[in-house]
Amino acid sequence: VVGCSGETSQGGAAGAISFYSPETPDMTKELGREYEKNNPGSRVDVQYGGTNVIVNRLIAEKDNPMGDLWYGGGGILPFETAKERAIITSYIPEEIKDWPVERNGIKIRDENWEWVGTEVFVLGFIYNTEKVKKDELPRSWDDLLDPRWKGKFQMPNPAASGTATLTVLSRMMELGEEEGWEFFEKLMDQANAMPDSGSAPSQAVAKGEAEIGVAFDFMAYEMQARGENVDFVVPEKTPILVNPVSLVKDGPNPEGGKAFIDFLLSEEGQRVLADWYHIPIREDVESKTPLSLESVMPHALPLDIDWAVDNYDRIRNEWRSKFE
């Protein structure tokens, strides 16, 4: 083996853990530090990259995996793909072994524990508080078709962004395909751009390039915290799903990986997430976001994840052939 950047191959919870995550690096690093504090001697090696990069990397390393665990991906869809690709494996954390698959309509873990949710994401609208008055705000997805938003709306391109695909799929489930497509035909006329990067619409809204855009709750609140004039609306019926963590198949240090998952679900772990405006999966942890599980649950749109997974590629292809 030609010298690998100082990877001490001594395993276990107190060993070196390589931690893949697309979530905010500052947050993941903080998680790493917390873990190291709790497990003296351990070293958490945070590998950052966009969701796609991480997944692709996992695939590329399949023959000789380098990562131990993978946390986050803007929802569960990437993890579902990962299951097919056989790059993640099941692990049942002791603390939550009695979790059901679903909790009030939201799937919180994989049937056979290939992933478990760590927090809740809400898909909704980010808007520019200087340009949009409270009373104009859209209540539902349909309200987006209001002429008010013509040329002032942005959403990521489903062809590239998981966030956007989720939007599309959810509408399809809600309206059925024909109407669903009609809806998006119209919606596309409203949009003034459809960037590939998932965070671009939020950015555009903050800058005033657009007035309203599709985003996850925490993006909006993080920006707000940074002082941007943006806020977030939770539509009436909207996809709400968990952001999972899972163990990488045949990782170099499975024990460490498992230990870290446990930590993520532990109170300390959850608190870190909460401090970054995420909605923790554990009700007993207080979060900084104005939202909470109770407050968002009523908006939850029942998601048929299996249908989503099955039709993921098809819908997306249809999208591309329709809108490109």
Binding site: V2, S5, T24, D63, N64, M66, A160, A191, K207
Partner: protein, 569 residues
């Protein structure tokens, strides 16, 4: 000539040639081959691994048995891909032509005049290179977006709406033109450097005014260099996805973006692999075209009867060139200005200027990323050294020994999307026998392979200008061809080399796509930090970071110029 005699003939040089070929074989061809296989199997295959590890060999065989051409069939059925290809070609050709025309006067000014402030202009005109295309696009939004300050001014002046719609083909072209032009500028400067003053004198003596002389002699002689610069810009624009990802209007689709989406959105390796293969094919076509055009145009102008070429001092001309250069540079520099504003902005809403000012972002990066800076410099230098050596010899082999394959080989990375190359490298080197994934070495090699073409383009331009007698003389005086190249051709190549050096160094510093995939945490460079911030939409910090990078590069360049009185400009 029989292999045996061939060997006797070229000795050490030949050894070198083969080792270079080997280098590309291992670090480029095999990875790309595996990509190609992926385009058939849709799954990663590890070729080297298969050689030593029976288990991997097994899985490889299984995957290959599942190979099929259906991906390619779909490709033909999908008219979308075809449109994408056409769009991309339009875009890149447009950009290439525009950039070339725009650069000719500047290149001449740098190469052949005493234009006042040359040094600074030169240093500044590398700035656009430093900005990751995402940032560049972002900067343009800050300027020309609906709420961009330019449009604020525009409306203030009584215009309505926007100067032009930035999320459009035009927008993309503009960004690419103004941020890619240095790629062409430096090789062209080198090309003009190589021209022989005596020829211009002859032309003027035969009655041609300076203008005509320029077109007839100076320009015509620079044609090979200019063409290869043009090709360079073409491929760069062809394979750039940073700009379109942010600026593409929803109806415009480009092949590189398609490829990116296949892999980013669908994890559809076969799809993106296929598109990559297509892109490489297209590039191959253009290379062939270029070689065909400049075939037999490799006239030596650096002759054995040297004549000193005096720089042009004509007042009017200088003034003109100076103004022109400033105007061209103004655009990217204003963009940098905007980035700077956003780097000191608390936030920047829809107003012309930020809502408030702060140094917080700089504090953040200095606190968090000092090590990244060091890493960047080390890595970049490593890649630089490697590039200089390899590029010099490659352009020698290509021009003198006419080994077109080496030319194409070394230039392929230009069109292989960074992410594809990165993945290919990871999957090839993540097991024995060559377990390099996650090492700085592989990172440097990757940088080299990906960025060296820039240097080769510019060294080849110069190489063509060197008369054969030069090295013949040296060989005749007892130097082996190898030594001849090192002691005679090398120094004469200097303009080309230093031109390329700037490109390589700067672009390595900003390189993202490879970095994201391959940089081990212990070696994370600046570009990675920038990208992380970008991806999380933390544009202010990203801006601060870019400004920092720009500053560093500019300073380094001035220093370098101080140290080596290099003759580039």
């Amino acid at each position: 000539m029989s292999r045996f005699r061939f060997w006797r003939r070229w000795g050490g040089l030949d050894l070198l040639r083969w080792s270079i070929v080997l280098f590309f074989l291992v670090f480029l061809i095999v990875p790309l081959l595996s990509i190609f296989l992926v385009s058939l199997t849709g799954e990663p295959v590890n070729l080297f691994g298969s050689l030593v590890n029976p288990a991997i060999f097994q899985s490889t065989v299984e995957k290959l048995s599942g190979a099929s051409l259906e991906g390619y069939r779909d490709l033909w059925e999908e008219s979308r891909y075809f449109h994408a290809l056409v769009n991309s070609l339009k875009l890149s050709t447009g950009v290439a032509c525009w950039v070339t025309l725009m650069c000719i006067p500047m290149a001449y000014a740098f190469a052949r005049t005493d234009m006042p402030g040359k040094k600074w202009f030169a240093a500044l005109s590398t700035v656009p290179l430093v900005m990751p295309t995402f940032i560049a696009a972002y900067a343009f939004t800050l300027m020309f977006g609906q709420t961009g300050w330019v449009n604020h001014i525009w409306r203030a002046l009584g215009g309505d709406g926007v100067l032009f719609e930035i999320k459009s083909m035009l927008g993309i072209i503009l960004v690419q033109v103004f941020f890619f032009f240095p790629y062409a500028l430096w090789p062209m400067v080198a090309a003009f450097k190589a021209a022989d003053g005596a020829l211009e004198e002859a032309s003027r003596n035969l009655g041609a005014k300076s203008g005509l002389t320029f077109v007839m002699v100076t320009l015509s002689l620079a044609v090979p260099g200019i063409l290869s610069a043009m090709l360079l810009v073409f491929t760069i624009s062809f394979s750039d996805f940073g700009t379109p990802i942010i600026m593409a209007p929803k109806e415009l689709n480009l092949i590189v973006v398609e490829a990116y989406r296949e892999i980013a959105g669908f994890f559809n390796w076969s799809g993106s692999a296929i598109l990559t293969v297509v892109m490489v094919a297209v590039a191959a076509l253009f290379f062939w075209l270029q070689r065909w055009v400049i075939k037999g145009r490799e006239y030596g102008t650096i002759s054995g009867k040297p004549v000193v070429t005096r720089p042009v001092r004509h007042k009017g001309a200088l003034a003109g060139l100076m103004i022109y250069t400033s105007v061209v540079l103004a655009v990217p520099l204003l963009a940098v200005g905007s980035i700077f504003l956003s780097s000191v902005a608390t936030t920047w809403g829809h107003h012309a200027l930020p809502n408030g000012y702060t140094l917080r972002h700089y504090a953040t990066i200095f606190h968090s990323s000092t090590s990244n800076i060091v890493n960047s410099l080390v890595l970049a230098s490593g890649a630089l050294v490697l590039s200089v050596i390899i590029a010099t010899f490659i352009s020698y082999f290509v021009i003198r020994r006419g080994s077109a394959k080496l030319d194409f080989l070394s230039s392929m990375p230009l069109v292989v999307p960074g992410i594809a190359l990165g993945i290919a490298l990871i999957q090839t080197f993540n097991t024995a026998p060559l377990h390099l994934t996650g090492t700085a070495l592989l990172l440097i090699i990757a940088y080299t392979i990906r960025r060296m073409p820039y240097m080769i383009r510019s060294t080849m331009g110069t190489m063509m200008a060197i008369r054969k007698e030069m090295e013949e003389a040296s060989v005749n005086l007892g130097a082996s061809p190898l030594l001849a190249v090192v002691t005679v051709v090398g120094p004469l190549l200097l303009p080309g080399i230093s031109a390329g050096a700037i490109l390589v160094f700067v672009t390595v510093i900003k390189e993202t796509s490879i970095t994201i995939l391959m940089a081990p945490t212990s070696w994370a460079p600046m570009s990675l930090a920038v990208f992380q911030n970008l991806l999380r939409g933390e544009f202010y910090t990203a801006s601060a970071m870019s400004i920092l990078i720009i500053a560093i590069v500019v300073v380094l360049q001035l220093v370098a110029r101080r140290l080596t009185k290099e003759q580039l400009y």
